[in-house]
C-alpha cells in the first residue's frame, strides 16, 4: 500500500505544487523518487516527530497540503499532542501517514506495531481516519485526502490487490465487496483479504457472507452498517487493531444506538494486549486470531447461537 500511496502522491505533486511531503527519516527505497523529483516539496525532518508535526502545521498554515510520513506509532502516538493541538484544533490541512498498520513489522515487536492508533486518532475532533484495505483503495484514498481539506490520518498496511477494477471510493462510504444474507463481515486496514478468503470457505458450507470494506473509520458509514445488519442480523468486525475503540467500537456504537432488534455482534481483533510472542506478521496473525481459518471458526461458532 505504501508504494501505491507514494506513486499516487508523486503523480499529484507534479501538478499540485501545494503538496508538501515530510518524512520522519523513514521510507528507504520508497521516497527517493519523490525527493529527487520535487526537492522543493520534500523535507526529511529527522527522527523528531513532534517537531515534524509542528512544522507540518506551520507549513499548512501558509496554504500547503502537508503529508507527514513515518512507520508504526511514530507519526501518531509519539506526537499525539501536536496532532491534537497544532493540527486538529486549528483544522490545519495536514495528512498523517503511518506505514505498517497492525502486525506488519511482525518480528520487530510491539514498539513497531500500531494496534491502538485507529481508536486514539478517531477520538480527535476534526480528524478523518482512513485505513485502506488494498493497494487500489490506498491509491484512491491518497487522492481523496488531498481533495478533502483538514486533518486526515491514513493508516497503511499490506494486502494483495482485492479490487480488480477501481471501486467508487468516497471518504465515509463503505464498499460492499461481496453480498450475502447470513452474516456481515466489516473489515478495515488490510483485513479484507483474509475476510474474503474466509467468506469463500464459508460459502462452501452454505454460509453466505456479506463482506464490506470499511476503509473509513471516521466518519463511519452508518447507513451501510445499518443496512447490512438489517439484512443479515449478524455482524462481525475484523481489524488488525485492538478491539477497543477502533472499527469494532465504531460499529458497535452505531448498532447500539440505532438497532431496535437484537442482532449477533462480535469484534475480531487484538484482544487488549501487546504481542507477547515474537514472529512474522503471519505468525502473529495466527497467534491473535486474524487468519481466514480463525475467522471461519469464530463465524461458525457465532452462527450456531443465532
Amino acid at each position: 500500500m505504501r508504494n501505491a500511496f507514494i506513486k499516487t502522491l508523486t503523480e499529484v505533486a507534479e501538478k499540485n505544487k501545494n503538496i508538501f511531503f515530510i518524512t520522519g527519516d523513514l521510507g528507504y527505497s520508497v521516497i527517493e523518487d519523490f525527493q529527487a523529483q520535487f526537492p522543493n516539496q520534500f523535507l526529511n525532518a529527522g527522527v523528531a516527530e513532534q517537531n515534524m508535526t509542528g512544522i507540518a502545521a506551520g507549513l499548512a498554515s501558509t496554504g500547503k497540503t502537508v503529508f507527514t510520513y513515518s512507520i508504526g506509532n511514530f507519526p501518531t502516538l509519539r506526537c499525539l499532542e501536536q496532532i491534537r493541538s497544532d493540527v486538529c484544533y486549528h483544522n490545519h490541512n495536514v495528512k498523517i501517514v503511518a506505514v505498517g498498520g497492525g502486525f506488519h513489522y511482525g518480528a520487530l515487536a510491539s514498539t513497531h506495531h500500531p494496534t491502538e492508533d485507529l481508536a486514539i486518532l478517531r477520538s480527535l475532533p476534526n480528524m478523518t481516519v482512513i485505513a485502506p484495505n488494498d493497494p487500489i483503495e490506498a491509491s484512491l484514498a491518497t487522492k481523496a485526502v488531498i481533495k478533502k481539506r483538514g486533518p486526515c490520518y491514513l493508516r497503511l498496511s499490506m494486502s494483495k490487490r482485492i479490487h480488480q477494477t477501481p471501486p467508487d471510493f468516497k471518504i465515509g462510504k463503505a464498499i460492499t465487496v461481496r453480498e450475502g444474507n447470513d452474516i456481515s463481515m466489516i473489515t478495515t486496514g488490510g483485513m479484507l483479504e483474509p475476510a474474503i478468503e474466509a467468506a469463500e470457505f464459508l460459502s462452501k458450507e452454505n454460509i453466505n457472507v456479506e463482506v464490506i470494506s470499511m476503509h473509513t473509520i471516521k466518519p463511519i458509514d452508518k447507513e451501510t452498517i445499518l443496512k447490512t445488519a438489517q439484512k443479515t442480523n449478524a455482524v462481525v468486525t475484523i481489524e488488525e487493531h485492538t478491539i477497543l475503540g477502533g472499527l469494532g467500537g465504531a460499529v458497535a456504537e452505531i448498532l447500539m444506538e440505532n438497532m431496535s432488534k437484537r442482532i449477533i455482534f462480535q469484534r475480531i481483533g487484538v484482544n487488549d494486549t501487546f504481542a507477547k510472542k515474537i514472529g512474522s506478521r503471519d505468525f502473529l496473525r495466527k497467534e491473535y486470531g486474524l487468519t481466514p481459518e480463525t475467522i471461519v471458526e469464530r463465524v461458525k461458532s457465532l452462527l450456531s447461537n443465532k
Binding site: Q50, N51, I55
Partner: protein
C-alpha cells in the same frame, strides 16, 4: 527623553494597565508571566512586526507566535491597542462566553497565529512557517516568544537542531528569561545555563539583552537577518511581575490573584490611573 523611547514607555504602561485589569477582572493566574513580557511585546507590536490590523491574514505578514501561551493577556492587550479588535473585547478575557481565553487562543481572534497553552508547540510550528517562507521566497519573518520553563520541553530542542541546519534566518526566538518557572526558580528545577553557549553550539546567532530596555530590544531585532543563514536567539533577561513590587521575582505570582487593594497599589506603582482603563 528620546521621543521613540517615550512612545515605547507609554505603550508598555498601557499594556501593563490592561494586563492588570484583565487578570484582576478574570481573577486569572499568570500575572507575573504576562508582566515580564510586556516590554518585548510593546516593541514588537509598535515597531518591528510588519502586520496590518485591517488585513490580519495578509499572506506576506510577519508572524508572531506566543509560545508561552499563558502570556495571553499581554498579547491581547497589544493586539487591541494595534486595532485588531475592539478594546471592549479585553473585558471578556477569562469570562463565560468571552472572546478571549486564558491562554493565547485563535478562536475567531484576529492577529493570533497559533493557539498555545501547552508548552513547546510554538517553535516547531514557527519552523514550518519560516520554512514555507524560504521555499516560497517570501520576505516575512517569524517571531516566537518562549518562556524559560518552556525550554524544558524536548520538542523545542528538536526545533533548535532543525532551524540552523535549514538556514532559517527568517526565524527569531526571544527567550523571556525571568528565571522563575511554575513551582520554583529555573536554576532549582532544570537549570538552563549556560543557555547562550548551548544555542551557539546548536548554530544559532545569540544575543543577550535587558528585556525591559526598549532600545536594546529594538536593536536586537533590527535588522533581520542578523547573520545570513542563521536563526536568531535573543536571551531577554526579564523580571517576573516587572513593574509591580509585590509581584516582582516571586514564584507565587505565577498563580496568585489580586484583590482590590492590591490592584490599587499596582496601579499606583505604575503611575497609571484605573479610570483610564475603565476600572
Amino acid at each position: 527623553m528620546h521621543t521613540k523611547e517615550k512612545n515605547y514607555q507609554e505603550q508598555a504602561k498601557k499594556i501593563r494597565g490592561y494586563v492588570l485589569k484583565m487578570v484582576y477582572q478574570g481573577q486569572s493566574a499568570h500575572a507575573g508571566s504576562n508582566l515580564s513580557a510586556v516590554d518585548i511585546i510593546a516593541v514588537l507590536y509598535k515597531n518591528i512586526l510588519n502586520i496590518d490590523p485591517k488585513n490580519p491574514e495578509w499572506e506576506d505578514r510577519d508572524r508572531f507566535i506566543m509560545s508561552k501561551g499563558h502570556g495571553a493577556a499581554v498579547v491581547y492587550a497589544a493586539l487591541a491597542l494595534k486595532g485588531f479588535f475592539p478594546m471592549s473585547w479585553l473585558d471578556t478575557y477569562y469570562q463565560d462566553d468571552g472572546k478571549l481565553a486564558g491562554h493565547v487562543t485563535k478562536l475567531n481572534v484576529p492577529g493570533i497565529e497559533l493557539s498555545t497553552g501547552s508548552l513547546g508547540h510554538g517553535l516547531p510550528f514557527a519552523c514550518g512557517v519560516a520554512l514555507a517562507g524560504k521555499r516560497d521566497k517570501k520576505k516575512y519573518r517569524t517571531f516566537v516568544i518562549v518562556s524559560d520553563g518552556e525550554m524544558d520541553e524536548g520538542s523545542n530542542w528538536e526545533a533548535f537542531l532543525f532551524a540552523p541546519y535549514h538556514k532559517l534566518d527568517n526565524l527569531i526566538v526571544i527567550l523571556d528569561y525571568n528565571k522563575i518557572q511554575s513551582l520554583a526558580p529555573v536554576k532549582d528545577t532544570l537549570d538552563l545555563e549556560p543557555v547562550a553557549d548551548k544555542l551557539k553550539a546548536f548554530g544559532w546567532t545569540v544575543k543577550e539583552i535587558d528585556g525591559h530596555n526598549h532600545t536594546e530590544i529594538e536593536s536586537a531585532l533590527t535588522p533581520i537577518p542578523v547573520k545570513k543563514g542563521k536563526p536568531l536567539f535573543v536571551i531577554a533577561h526579564t523580571i517576573k511581575g516587572k513593574g509591580v513590587s509585590f509581584m516582582e521575582n516571586t514564584v507565587a505570582w505565577h498563580y496568585k490573584n489580586m484583590d482590590e487593594k492590591l490592584l490599587e497599589q499596582a496601579f499606583n506603582e505604575l503611575n497609571i490611573k484605573k479610570e483610564d482603563f475603565g476600572l
